[in-house]
C-alpha cells in the first residue's frame, strides 16, 4: 500500500522549547489514521508543518510523493484541512462560503454548485440558509468538513474535530468522517480515545514530541498489553479448586483476585480461554461470569505516554 503522507525525522522548536523531536511516521493510503496524544504533545504543530503553515527545523514531509515546502506549498492541492476551531466570515451563508473556497481553488461554477450541494447534504446543512454568525460550534465543524472536502482531497486532515463538541455533535462528526473514508485518507488528531477507537484503523501516539506507539489497532492490541480474562466464581471453594488444578497454575500466576473474581493475565487470549473452558466443564465448575477483556486503546495509550 502506498503511503500518502510521510514524515521523516521531523524536528521543531519554539525558542528553546523543543516541541517535536525526530518524528517519523507514514500514513497509508485509504486509512483512517488517528493521531493521538495528550494536550501539548505537538499534534497541531505537526499538522501545521504538513500544511506548510509552520516551518520545520529539520526533516522532510512528503504528500503523495511530493515534498512539502513552507509557505505556499503545492502539496496543499491534495489536502483538505479542518483546523481545530475553524473560523468563518460570520456574514456569509454556508453556500456563499463554499463558493468562495471553490473560486479560490479555481473550480468552475458548475463544479462548485454541484459539489457544494453534495457536501452540504453530507454534513447535514443542506436546507440551512442561516448566516454563519448564528452557527453552533458543531455546525461550524460540519461546515469546516464540507469546506475541507470541496476539492476531493486525497488526504483529509482534521485537527481535534470532536474535542469541543457535545456527545451528539461528536457522533455526527465521527459519522461524517467515517463516510468520508470511502473517498479519501483521513488523518485526525484527538485526545478522546473512544473517538479514535470508533473510526480509526491506524493510530500513532505522540508524547512529548515523539511517536511512542504506532500501528494498526489490531497489531497494537496483539503486540502491546496482555489479554485479560475475567472469571467470577460462585464460591470461594470453586475459586480455590480451580487455582490448584495443574493446567491452570501457570495462568493464575500474577492474577488479580478480589472476592470470588479472578483476572488472569494471559499472553494468548483465545488459547487461554479454550483451556479454561474445557477445564471448567470437566470439573463441573460453573462460573457466574466469564469475560474476555481485550486491551483497550486507553490501556495502550496510558502505557505509551508513561
Amino acid at each position: 500500500m502506498m503511503d500518502i503522507l510521510c514524515l521523516e525525522h521531523l524536528r521543531k522548536s519554539f525558542g528553546d522549547k523543543a516541541v517535536i523531536h525526530d518524528l517519523s511516521l507514514a500514513v497509508p493510503k485509504g486509512s483512517v489514521y488517528g493521531f493521538l496524544g495528550p494536550n501539548g504533545a505537538g499534534k497541531t504543530t505537526t499538522m501545521k508543518m504538513i500544511l506548510g503553515l509552520l516551518k520545520a527545523d529539520a526533516g522532510t514531509i512528503t504528500v503523495c510523493g511530493e515534498p512539502v515546502r513552507f509557505g505556499e506549498t503545492k502539496t496543499n492541492r491534495h489536502i483538505g484541512y479542518l483546523p481545530d476551531v475553524p473560523e468563518f466570515y460570520g456574514y456569509m451563508r454556508a453556500k456563499e462560503y463554499l463558493r468562495l473556497c471553490g473560486e479560490i481553488a479555481g473550480m468552475s461554477v458548475q463544479q462548485i454548485s454541484q459539489k457544494s450541494s453534495e457536501l452540504l447534504s453530507l454534513v447535514g446543512l443542506s436546507g440551512n440558509n442561516q448566516k454563519i454568525a448564528g452557527y453552533s460550534r458543531g455546525m461550524k465543524q460540519r461546515l469546516g468538513i464540507a469546506q475541507a472536502l470541496l476539492n476531493d482531497p486525497k488526504l483529509l486532515i482534521c485537527d481535534e474535530p470532536t474535542s469541543a463538541l457535545d456527545p451528539v455533535g461528536r457522533k455526527e462528526i465521527l459519522e461524517i468522517l467515517h463516510r468520508a473514508r470511502e473517498k479519501t485518507t483521513v488523518l485526525f488528531s484527538t485526545h478522546i480515545l473512544s473517538d479514535a477507537e470508533r473510526i480509526c484503523d491506524h493510530v500513532a501516539v505522540l508524547n512529548e514530541g515523539r511517536v511512542t506507539l504506532n500501528g494498526t489497532l489490531d497489531e497494537l492490541r496483539k503486540q502491546h498489553g496482555q489479554g485479560r480474562l475475567l472469571v467470577e466464581f460462585s464460591s470461594q471453594d470453586d475459586l480455590d479448586r480451580c487455582r490448584q488444578l495443574p493446567e491452570l497454575t501457570q495462568s493464575f500466576i500474577g492474577a488479580q483476585i478480589e472476592g470470588y473474581t479472578a483476572i488472569l493475565c494471559v499472553p494468548d487470549l483465545p488459547a487461554a480461554e479454550t483451556a479454561l473452558l474445557s477445564v471448567l466443564v470437566r470439573e463441573s465448575i460453573l462460573p457466574n461470569r466469564l469475560e474476555n477483556q481485550e486491551p483497550t486503546l486507553e490501556s495502550l495509550f496510558m502505557e505509551a505516554i508513561r
Binding site: Y81, F88, Y91, L100, I104, G106, L150
Partner: protein, 254 residues
C-alpha cells in the same frame, strides 16, 4: 474565476456587510456637503452670535473658502475615519484565523495583500470622489465665477496620501497581528513625517506636502512643481510597504 477576483469580491462584499461602505459613504458625503455650506454661512453665523455693539468685518466668502474646508476636513477627519475602519483589515483576519482555510486551499498570500489593498483603495477612491464632486457641485453653484487653478493636482495628491495610509495599515497587520498595532504604526508614520517636516531639507521631498499644501497650491503660495518629488516619494513608499507586507507575510508562520 481566479483567486484574486474571488478574494477581491469577498473584500467588497465584506465592506458592504460590515457597514464599512455605508459609514465611509455617509461620512464623506456629509463632508462633501458641509465644506461649501460652512464656507457660505460661517460669516452669517459669526455675525449672529456677536454681542451688540461689536462688529467684525469678514471678507465675503469665495470658492477658495469652500476648498479650504475640503482640504482641512478630509485630511483631518476623513482620513482618520478611514484608518479606523480599515485598521484591522489584515490583522483581524490573522488573529481570528479566518484566512487559514483559504490559504491552505491555495490562495496565494501575495493575492491576499494585493486584493485587500485594491478593495480598500476602491472604497477610499469612491468615498473621496463622492466628497470631492459634492463639494465641487455646491461650490460651482454658490460661486460660479470662482477660479480654482491647481485643484486637480491638489485633490490627486491627497488621494495618493490616502493610499499610502492604507498600505501602511497592511504592513502593520502582518507585523502586529492586531488593529492597535496597525493604528500605532500608521499614526507613528504620520507623526514621524510631520516631525521631519521641521527640517527645511526634508520639506521638498516629504509626503506630508500632499495632504497639507493643497490649499497653498490653490491660493498660489506653493508651486505645483513642489508636489512632484513628494508624489514620487509617496509612490515609492506605497510600493515598499506592499512589497514589505508580501515579503513578511510569505515568511510568517500561521
Amino acid at each position: 474565476m481566479n483567486a484574486f477576483t474571488a478574494f477581491f469580491k469577498k473584500e467588497l462584499s465584506e465592506a458592504a456587510h460590515t457597514h464599512k461602505l455605508t459609514v465611509m459613504g455617509l461620512v464623506f458625503l456629509l463632508f462633501g456637503m458641509m465644506n461649501p455650506l460652512t464656507a457660505k454661512v460661517l460669516p452669517d453665523i459669526l455675525a449672529g452670535v456677536m454681542p451688540d455693539g461689536i462688529t467684525i468685518t469678514l471678507a465675503t466668502p469665495t470658492a477658495l473658502d469652500s476648498w479650504a474646508q475640503f482640504f482641512k476636513n478630509v485630511p483631518q477627519m476623513g482620513l482618520i475615519v478611514m484608518v479606523l475602519l480599515y485598521g484591522g483589515m489584515l490583522a483581524n483576519e490573522l488573529s481570528r484565523g479566518t484566512l487559514t482555510q483559504l490559504l491552505t486551499r491555495g490562495l496565494p498570500r501575495k493575492t491576499v495583500v494585493l486584493a485587500k489593498f485594491s478593495a480598500a483603495s476602491l472604497v477610499w477612491t469612491a468615498a473621496y470622489a463622492l466628497c470631492f464632486f459634492v463639494t465641487y457641485a455646491y461650490t460651482v453653484y454658490f460661486w460660479p465665477e470662482g477660479s480654482t487653478t491647481g485643484l486637480p493636482l491638489a485633490a490627486f495628491s491627497l488621494w495618493v496620501f490616502g493610499l499610502m495610509l492604507l498600505s501602511t495599515l497592511l504592513l502593520g497587520g502582518v507585523l502586529f497581528k492586531n488593529s492597535y498595532g496597525c493604528l500605532l504604526l500608521t499614526g507613528g508614520l504620520v507623526a514621524l513625517l510631520s516631525l521631519l517636516n521641521i527640517l527645511p531639507a526634508m520639506q521638498a521631498v516629504n509626503p506630508m506636502v500632499l495632504p497639507s499644501n493643497g490649499m497653498a497650491l490653490l491660493s498660489g503660495t506653493f508651486p505645483a512643481s513642489g508636489f512632484v518629488t513628494p508624489l514620487l516619494v509617496t509612490g515609492a513608499i506605497i510600493m515598499s510597504m506592499l512589497s514589505g507586507t508580501i515579503f513578511l507575510f510569505n515568511r510568517k508562520a500561521l
